[in-house]
Symmetry: C2
Subunit: 231 residues, 2 copies
């Protein structure tokens, strides 16, 4: 017995398929686009979106292979948008970059098309609406990361990055401008974040959104009251 128990065991080697290896390779390539990103749009946002995609994607019975590729690649156009002060749209640029990267790895054309559609439509605009299940899941996951406690943190972090004030509840938000001292977390909440939950496509996404939304509303309500020394 003693001898047997001392026999070294062969370590369990995790089987990795060719598609796992390809995914890991593409994930590393995607990450390299984020080496000088600011905190509010850093790689950790992609990691959270990936986790949300898997969570929602399983419930929605989406194609997780497509989703994983779309999630890790969805924001690789962000640095181009930042560099051009918003002239280049990061979802369009990202989809183009993704096509090139996936093509270079010999990914089938059908897969490329499906992944690129997710990336192209993850930023909601009239001309590009998510049409597939996977595109809807990515859209939802990306938006969910902008609300709740994570969304609040990201909004203030961004405000700090652009030199904005803590709060501007007494300003007419319609007259405030982005990338100025008035580009506060509260502005982002008023202009964008408070509408997010109504634009979610999937059932599981809506469930998460409603819970995160409730907390975000409570936060900004408290921020007002504390600012007036009423809490």
């Amino acid at each position: 017995m003693a001898t047997r128990s001392r026999t070294p065991k062969r370590p369990l080697k995790k089987r990795t398929s060719a598609s796992d290896r390809l995914y890991e390779w593409i994930r590393r390539e995607a990450r390299s686009f984020f080496h000088d990103s600011r905190g509010s749009h850093a790689w950790d946002h992609t990691e959270r979106v990936l986790q949300l995609c898997l969570r929602i994607g399983r419930k929605e019975k989406a194609d997780l292979g497509i989703l994983k590729l779309a999630a890790v690649l969805h924001d690789i156009g962000r640095s181009e948008e930042d560099r051009t002060n918003g002239k280049v749209c990061h979802s369009e640029a990202g989809a183009a970059l993704a096509r090139t990267i996936l093509g270079a790895h010999g990914v089938p054309e059908d897969t490329i098309t499906r992944v690129a559609h997710c990336i192209e439509t993850h930023r909601f605009r009239k001309k590009t609406v998510p049409a597939t299940k996977e595109a809807k899941v990515l859209f939802d996951a990306d938006k969910l990361d902008s609300i709740g406690a994570v969304g609040i943190g990201r909004a203030f972090l961004f405000a700090g990055e652009v030199g904005a004030r803590l709060h501007n509840k007494d300003r007419d938000i319609a007259k405030t401008l982005p990338y100025t001292k008035e580009d506060t977390a509260f502005r982002e909440y008023m202009v964008k974040l408070r509408w997010v939950k109504d634009r979610i496509f999937t059932r599981e996404g809506r469930r998460i959104a409603e819970e995160r939304h409730r907390f975000m509303v409570e936060f900004f309500d408290r921020l007002d009251k504390e600012s007036d020394s009423a809490l």
Copy 2:
């Protein structure tokens, strides 16, 4: 009747005493120290601290005249601390500046001493402990503005200003450094903010602190869970 109602009324003129005018003058002078402050330590922090001082000061039956002067002047040494990368302590520098300003306005020596003590001791260190009722109220008001929703907002804003990440719950906080990518809101919470409520002096301050603390704990708990896609 019609003629009478059209008779112009003499506008009510608010009576301002010499001490009101002096206070307004000193308040403007204090504000001038903040023209290039970052959002997390801007003049609006002073305004919130002033309101909290009045709220707590009334309950504690503190001298509101002393408190108002101490509140508006309490952070005027902040820019000197920032300029010297922390070598100059802003409460010591602020107290010295306050003595000069108040002296130049002919404020009685006893008042100057009482105001300067508040400013000198508002940053808790062993060698300078708030000894008077007014100093304790200012200390509490300043600390209360670092917790709750306002405290959370200020912590992320500061993180954005120094280029920190959104979150670093998986790092050993003891090994992280201030003014780096690891100087996150979570670090500030772990190192400082979660202990604030236990250091409050006044009864009303403790009541406010406990309520704000509860919300702050809930926020960081949510931030962890959302980051792991568990909420």
